[in-house]
């Protein structure tokens, strides 16, 4: 270790050696702060984190030995310790293509334990930073004093603000390289203030530091007597914690799990998202709206008189009312809203772009519902904050959209309560997490549309027709023979006295869907509408036959999910592309090959063959008549029709 290195100031205190019991008692009362550091490699982020770990003595001697060794061999600081080496080591993994969204580091002082979210990499920066910031109480935005406020500083600040982090430190780093100039520091602070106002950031704390030299990191720097504020670590030790701030909010707890060990006990387990709860409190269960009082707050360590935001507890009620996972328990006189249409910000995190109309799983609180983006409003350019019209969102794009869920859900605006306002979207095919979302508000109209209960229901319609309703969904390439086969099937069913209706792709596009084109987004909407129409027809008791290319698995799955169990019958009309192209009944393949027709399935737009079709008919082996007969036989056998 080089001589001029300051001795670590924290944790090494004599108390450990002298009186370990007293030390332990003291450290039982530590609090915990989670923060994120934002900045690129050049801003000295790794050096700063390494410095914090080092100064708080989280480095063991064997690690230190290898650090000193590495510093000499591969470090960038000559004979001095290169702190960055403590936290790097992810570079190699990055090269191998391993996804690193966030690395978490830990250190502690006498007052606090800290969890630092470090987000490496440039390409995935938005996704990574949003992930790291979602759990942070505080953000440290690093600026190189020589460079000042850069485009990426704006981007980091925008994201920090978007995720609702109230406590922002502007760490003006590398002050040693600008001769510890107060003038330079204040110039940067002034620039930043202007920008912070623009994005609606209420306040921030600027601190001039040098991560490398240790100025204003742990203690006040002698090199900058003109700076009177706290050192970085002193501020980190005092900054407020989000969970604590949430205690002043009305009580909210999403139910995770119902605990029923025996007939005498029914408890509702969850982690309190906001507020405080005591036995006797009047509560309401949402979305049902049923009310009761809290009987007890049960924990392994005995019943509690009070529990606060952040604690994981189990509640019992005075009355036996329905309550299950996904429900939200709220303070009776201050409930949260319940709605099924929202305006939200979406941060897109997947390679595959967002498609309006495509159903995703939306997970909020402890419940999962099906959701679709109904109306993309605009995309935000994270560098300039400009709004751009956009119908979709690609990887790392941020946009504002309207979202509709298949059920009404209890929620709060993200800005008020991240626990009931932050959600993730999950792709239903791959199960990947594709987006993070933040609810702004509910759309008014969603509170005014209700389901109309009808007396003559779908069973009544079906029994009058003496048949079981179904959707027979033909999918396959253009020219595979879907319409031809469906037509024959309908004739046969008609002859058997069945009530049927054929929805044909081309015909629907002349009317219901005349406003749609052939982009991926429009194809999804096309199928969604057809699915809804088909569903209404099954409610009317009909056997619906559809003939649509319907190239995407997700959309066919969406329609399947719309229907009652067993009422969606997927028929894959399996015709190899060469054969369909050779047939070219409508001359479309020729046009597509010559470039006159864009987004043509099989040519420049993909077809995803079904993995679990109820029936496959191969039109190379079977005639249209035989294929149709096979379908009819399947229907008669499978659905008791």
């Amino acid at each position: 270790m080089s001589k001029d290195m300051k001795d670590p100031v924290y944790v090494t205190d004599q108390l450990i050696a002298d009186d370990i019991d007293a030390y332990l008692l003291k450290h039982q009362h530590k609090t915990m702060l989670r923060f994120i550091t934002c900045g690129s490699v050049d801003d000295g982020k790794s050096t700063l984190i390494g410095r914090l770990l080092y100064d708080s003595k989280m480095i063991f001697e064997d690690q230190l030995a290898s650090l000193e060794n590495d510093s000499k061999n591969v470090g960038t600081q000559g004979q001095d310790i290169d702190f960055a080496l403590l936290v790097d080591g992810l570079a190699a993994e990055r090269e191998q293509g391993i996804t690193i969204d966030v690395a978490y580091r830990f250190f502690a002082t006498d007052k606090r334990k800290f969890i630092v979210a470090d987000t490496p990499g440039h390409e995935q920066y938005t996704r990574n930073m949003v992930t790291g910031a979602s759990t942070a109480d505080l953000a440290v935005i690093l600026i190189d004093a020589r460079q000042g406020v850069l485009t990426q500083t704006r981007r980091h600040s925008y994201l920090v603000n978007l995720l609702g982090i109230k406590n922002v430190v502007l760490a003006v780093n590398k002050m040693d390289l600008v001769d510890y100039s107060a003038e330079r520091f204040y110039e940067i602070v002034s620039d930043y203030s202007h920008f912070a106002k623009q994005i609606g950031m209420d306040s921030f704390l600027p601190i001039p530091i040098s991560g490398l030299k240790g100025d204003n990191i742990v203690s006040h720097s002698e090199n900058m007597p003109w700076y009177q504020g706290p050192s970085l670590l002193a501020h980190l030790e005092e900054a407020p914690i989000s969970d604590t701030a949430m205690q002043d909010h009305p009580f909210r707890m999403a139910v995770q799990w119902v605990n029923r060990p025996n007939l005498d006990f029914r408890g509702f387990a969850g982690q309190i998202g906001a507020g405080t709860v005591r036995p006797g409190d009047a509560i309401r269960v949402l979305p049902s709206g049923k009310t009761t009082r809290v009987k007890s707050i049960v924990t392994f360590d005995g019943n509690l008189d009070q529990a606060v935001a952040g604690q994981s507890i189990t509640l019992t009620f005075e009355d036996e009312i329905d309550c299950s996972r996904g429900d939200v328990i709220v303070q009776s006189d201050q409930p949260c809203e319940v709605a099924d249409q929202f305006e939200s910000t979406l941060v897109w995190m997947a390679e595959e772009a967002m498609l309006p109309g495509r159903p995703y799983i939306l997970k909020i609180g402890t419940q999962s519902v099906t959701a679709t983006v109904t109306e993309p409003k605009y995309e935000v350019n994270v560098n300039t904050m400009e709004h751009m019209a956009s119908k979709t969102l690609g990887l790392n794009a941020i946009g504002v959209v309207n979202i509709s869920t298949d059920r009404a859900i209890p929620f709060e605006a993200y800005a008020e309560n991240s626990d009931l306002g932050g959600f993730i979207l999950i792709d239903r095919m791959t199960n990947a997490t594709v987006a993070a979302g933040m609810i702004h508000f509910a759309l008014r109209r969603s509170q005014n549309i209700h389901w109309q209960a009808v007396d003559v229901d779908r069973d009544a319609h079906a029994s009058l027709k003496n048949q079981k309703p179904a959707v027979v969904w033909f999918t396959g390439l253009s020219g595979s023979g879907k319409s031809t086969i469906a037509n024959i099937v309908e004739k046969k069913l008609h002859a058997l006295g069945k009530h049927t209706f054929l929805l044909d792709g081309d015909n629907v596009r002349h009317g219901l869907n005349r406003d749609l084109g052939f982009t991926d987004a429009d194809r999804v909407e096309n199928i969604r509408r057809v699915g809804e129409v088909a569903r209404l027809m099954t409610d009317a008791g009909l056997i619906v036959l559809t003939a649509f290319i319907s190239p995407f698995r997700s959309e066919r799955r969406m329609v399947r999910d719309l229907m009652a169990e067993g009422e969606f019958i997927e028929i894959y009309v399996d015709t190899p592309l060469e054969v369909a192209e050779q047939r070219d009944v409508k001359g479309l393949y020729k046009k597509a090959r010559s470039g006159q027709l864009k987004n043509f399935t099989g040519i420049d737009s993909p077809y995803e063959a079904p993995e679990t079709a109820e029936l496959i008919v191969n039109t190379v082996e079977l005639s249209a008549e035989d294929a149709a007969e096979k379908v009819v036989q399947y229907l008669l056998n499978s659905s008791r029709n």
Partner: protein, 311 residues
């Protein structure tokens, strides 16, 4: 109950302590798993982290017992004291204990003296995969922490494994807020690490505060050891083949980490109480995993083992 427990609100009415927050987070994670999994299991290695994890599970589901079994993937080479605590701890928690021995390793008599890294590969890596497949577990809790090693800092709390138990580092999901995406495709399974955000010191403090029973091997007492390849190895039973010139001698030692006894280095110590152990840990100069022979093979060995399915 004791007024010193981590969940006692009288400690602080306003701000939860770091241990209270860590505890609440771990409980939340465990409940998410139980609410979503078809057939979860808790991997139990009898070490201090496992002890903590088991204690948290008791808290998470109280007054019910934890609604999943414990699984010990055994090598037959653990310390005797570990087997004793294992059986008792499971019983006290009201949980079923499953012990799996890789039948192939059993048959071939695989041991740490003759078979080197094959010992870990077969007993632990293959054994774990066999057990998960055999019982059809879809989620397995593990006690790994992010502070254990530099490469673990980036580890997710919910880590997805393919049908053949491989870890695909390119296909892991971002974890936002408290929202864990627990959906899995057919054949996939999940390893869940509820102690991800705990540090070694947190674990020790929690054990101290909560009075959690741990294997006595963590405390110093005179034990028969031999010095071999720079490690102090305890002669725990008569299967230990002594080399020429080796005579076990009684030394006051303890263990920082527990595994197969022939692979686990002891440290000389006088720390015989929990506060003394913590004191020693705080003043110590070598990091935790140094006592384990497995890591010395190659620097990226942990990463490689993980991809193959060893945790």
């Amino acid at each position: 109950m004791s007024s010193q427990t981590a969940t006692d609100p009288s400690i602080s009415q306003e701000t939860l302590t770091h241990l209270q927050r860590l505890e609440a987070e771990s409980i939340h994670i465990m409940r998410e798993v139980v609410a979503n999994a078809d057939n979860p299991v808790m991997l139990y290695s009898v070490g201090k982290d496992s002890a903590c994890m088991l204690h948290l599970a008791k808290k998470a589901f109280y007054p019910a017992p934890p609604p999943f079994p414990l699984l010990h993937v055994d090598t037959t080479w653990k310390f005797q004291a570990m087997y004793e605590l294992r059986d008792r701890a499971a019983e006290e928690a009201g949980m079923k204990l499953l012990v799996h021995h890789n039948p192939e390793a059993m048959e071939k008599g695989i041991n740490p003296f003759d078979h080197g890294s094959l010992h870990t590969d077969m007993w632990k890596t293959d054994g774990l995969k066999q057990a998960l497949t055999k019982y059809n577990f879809d989620v397995a809790f593990g006690g790994a922490r992010r502070d254990e090693e530099k490469s673990r800092a980036k580890e997710r709390i919910f880590s997805f494994r393919s049908a053949n138990h491989r870890w695909d580092p390119k296909n892991q999901r971002p974890e936002l807020w408290r929202q864990y995406n627990t959906r899995k495709s057919k054949g996939e399974s999940i390893r869940v690490f509820p102690l991800s955000n705990w540090t070694e010191l947190d674990i020790w403090q929690y054990i101290h505060l909560e009075g959690i029973e741990i294997v006595p091997l963590y405390f110093s007492q005179p034990r028969p050891v031999v010095e071999r390849d720079g490690l102090l190895i305890m002669v725990d039973d008569d299967r230990f083949p002594l080399r020429e010139g080796e005579t076990p001698e009684m030394r006051s030692v303890r263990f920082r980490t527990l595994g197969c006894y022939p692979l686990t280095g002891a440290v000389e110590s006088e720390a015989s109480t929990l506060p003394e152990v913590i004191q020693e840990m705080l003043l110590t100069t070598t990091s935790e995993r140094q006592g384990r022979a497995i890591d010395h093979d190659q620097s990226a060995s942990m990463e490689k083992k993980k991809q193959e399915g060893y945790f």
